[in-house]
Subunit: 296 residues, 4 copies
């Protein structure tokens, strides 16, 4: 039985409620958001959670349409800022396929992120945009479109640009439907081997890119097979029956997902929130209104 | 326990395999497609299936990417043609919300349908497009966008245009995931009261529009609650447990759907097939290449 | 020599600077915007300007990206409000083709306009949205897509809905490139016979729809033929030569336009401004942030 | 007076009709298309035309909607094939901004190009797609979005992938409106210093990327300033007056373009033609129908 999730908080939950060696948890609350910090401190913890050593922050937010979003966005920006080196070029990569709605979170976030690496010298002075932190932005596409692993593209760019850090943004899968669109995960381990299960996401971390990699995302789907397995277990099915039931959710081998009917709106709002938080973390002197004019 | 489906073939299946009074079935096959005709012949049949008296054709097609699509498309066109009056204006309405991907089938089909009502007289002669059957096309939007029931909009247009028939195209929900994107339903009853369960689709039929109404569609989603109920039953849950499990699939009251990850591609291909079939049924002298140039 | 423009302020300018009988002008200024009111008071004025009797307000705004947009938007809302009856249903129609970028202003504005006609009774109470002014919204498409004149569609709806007024929103053409994206016209005459030159825009006014019709728009293009004629005259060409030069701007009979390279951004920003102004005029108790949540 | 054009055939025309040293021209015709080959053979020719030494093929095609497009597409594919090395990885880069309609030709072409570099081993065998020529595809975005020069991104990828050749696809500007959408240019010099005038296009050639670079494109716009200068001259204006007139076409320093009203359709059709020609040149055993299924 496989339950796919990209969220550390869910792999933690799947390991029971008892204390785990090599795993430290902290809980806090800000502006109505529950914030959980899971620190995986050694290999034992890493093995139990199937995740790399590092810190995973989960921000649980009531449905994304909230009026108080500026304060929440700033709290998010603060978390991102703490994970970033204090200065130096940051490369933002929006992963995923912009032509596949539930997978478009990364590219949409990238399109709203303020690139500044080229704003220098005379141009910077004449536009009043001097002393900006240098930022480069790319939406590299997916293997099926490009024939290249995202890791290959980013590694070759990192050799050239030598950024101080990379931020990757990607749509995620959660195990539970109630987390779709309502949870943000930020971690300092990049996207690592073994994260999730049955998970084709690329490996992007300090080992492959040579610099610190921060990964951010929002779950946009639950795999239909994961939902089916959960429902079978809730219904009291035996494991062997549950496996068969799980497979019945994906006929013809077509990947099926569970997602809100209003998936387009979810993607748009989540991309706006993530891009604003990134922009604010990198350029703290600007307001959301400034970014609306600068990025369009 | 509620299982939402817009397909007559599934409500038929839900009534067992025995013979039903007032329901006649025919099966045939063409170009690898299974074709089922369900004729509901009296009120008794209508009540059992929860559908209006009339004919429901279901075409089951292997995944929509097939190379033989022209022959299949022509077989579909033939079915549509048989339901239409031989001459007179036809009004095509593409129902649904073009900004919500799984609901965009109707508007996308409408945008590929060849409108001809305005091509007359000198223009018709000079472009070589004379003797076209008159066709009008509208994508009326959805209640939440317009503040108007689709039925209100179409009824007022029918009063004005006095078409010989209306064709409505809409995205559907099926009970089974294997039907998503692989089944086409065409019926001569329009969209009628009581079709489906928990179904907010508008009523559009001869009674409300005053002319024959043909309804066509492809299932693009399964309701998550429907999948959950099915899985609970397969897993051997009691009915009371199953209901609770069903509700767990829709947290926060958000409508959740099960759909292929590649939903954008499904919509694009299904809209192309439906629009070509409609165009061919109405203008049999033109080829798919002609329509590609005429509709763009 | 034909100069196409949809702006009353430009047809006024084309009649010289002297006083015109039947035409009264007022100038004012608000938040850095120049506001011109042209009142055509009798048939003599109407004939000279080639426009129907009524009031044409032109708001000239520095490039649309300004930081002060809320105050400006509210000033616009105030002008719209003054043209509307105090109560009763308002029907908003976003004219144009959403698949043709420079023509998508109307449909985009419609998609951001808050429809409320259906929010009544229990729903209104439970959502806290009671006492809303009833508003219906439609993007009827264009003749080539639908086979129906926009006027036919709106007239049949007006018979059914009996609105107190109609607001039509449409992309316009100006004579001068500097007005593209920087001018808003609001008038109480609808879209009338003879407005502009060589102008295929539909007639939508009190005569054809039976209720007051307010028309709003922003010029998004200059016809290439109009620019060519202007340049030929500036260059000192004789009229006969100028006509030939004008025609050279449109080879193969393809309609060519002059537009900013960033036309997509212009449309998006203008649609946001117009929709916010309309929403604010109709629902003065709500803020832009409220509309962002309500309309998505 | 500056006339921007990216077409060698137009810079040739601007140098009169006499013979030019270092420039050899050939004319032919295929399927109703005029084909011109301009060979710049030495530095003298390069200086006169402001273009690098190499071969520039111009294919003039009647409006892109023609029924005979398969034969034409194959003729184009043949020209591309002759410029490519016989084997080895080819990297396709679709330049431009997919959010700016007239600039979206490159990204749209890229999204329709068949990437194959990753289809190897077991996957290739099981899908019947073995012995494919390896192809990688990228839409790198534009400087304003990414903060990186297109040349930087492609150079770093070329170091990593070591392709046998690069094909860059980009929207172009022509001097004459009648060439917009009706001309295709293919050259073996990449995009070189000095091509065009006032031209911000990146330098992408053998010198900067280290491998042969083929550049392809279709003019999608005429700069408004270029049209204005041409019209002023046709109108008999003096050069000093013409310059002033030229500048009047671009108020507020906003880049204005002349383009067909149906620019969205032009981009879609040109991207389809270019991608099919590239796909056919690289995978001659496949048909357009195959690519429709493979690329979606």
């Amino acid at each position: 039985m496989q339950f796919r999730t990209d969220l550390a908080i869910e792999t933690r939950e799947m390991n029971g409620t008892g204390r785990l060696k090599g795993v430290v948890e902290e809980h806090s609350e800000a502006y109505g958001m529950n914030i959980t910090r899971i620190h995986i401190t050694n290999e034992e913890g890493a093995e139990q959670l199937g995740k790399a050593i590092g810190t995973y922050i989960t921000v649980e937010i009531p449905p994304l349409t909230d009026y108080a979003e500026n304060q929440r966005m700033e709290a998010l920006a603060e978390e991102i800022k703490k994970m970033l080196p204090e200065e130096g070029l940051v490369l933002i990569a929006g992963l995923g396929n912009y032509q596949v709605t539930p997978d478009a979170l990364g590219p949409k976030t990238a399109s709203l992120t303020f690139a500044t690496r080229h704003i220098q010298g005379e141009i910077a002075r004449s536009t009043g945009l001097s002393d900006l932190r240098p930022v480069a932005v790319l939406a590299p596409g997916v293997l099926g479109q490009t024939g290249m692993e995202t890791g290959e593209i980013l590694a070759s760019l990192c050799k050239e640009l030598k950024p101080a850090a990379v931020i990757v943004v990607d749509a995620m899968a959660s195990r539970k439907t109630e987390r779709v669109g309502t949870t943000i995960q930020i971690c300092d381990t990049g996207i690592s081997p073994g994260s999730g299960v049955g998970n084709a996401r690329p490996q992007l971390n300090r080992e492959t890119l040579g610099v610190p990699v921060i990964a951010m995302g929002v779950p946009t789907v639950v795999d239909a097979k994961t939902l089916a397995a959960d429902l079978a277990i809730q219904s009291g099915a035996q494991e062997s029956a549950a496996e068969k039931i799980q497979n019945s959710a994906e006929p013809h081998g077509t990947a099926m997902i569970v997602t809100p009917r209003e998936i387009d709106l979810l993607i748009e709002r989540a991309a706006k929130l993530l891009s604003l938080a990134i922009n604010t973390a990198l350029h703290p002197n600007f307001t959301p209104e400034d970014f609306a004019l600068l990025v369009g």
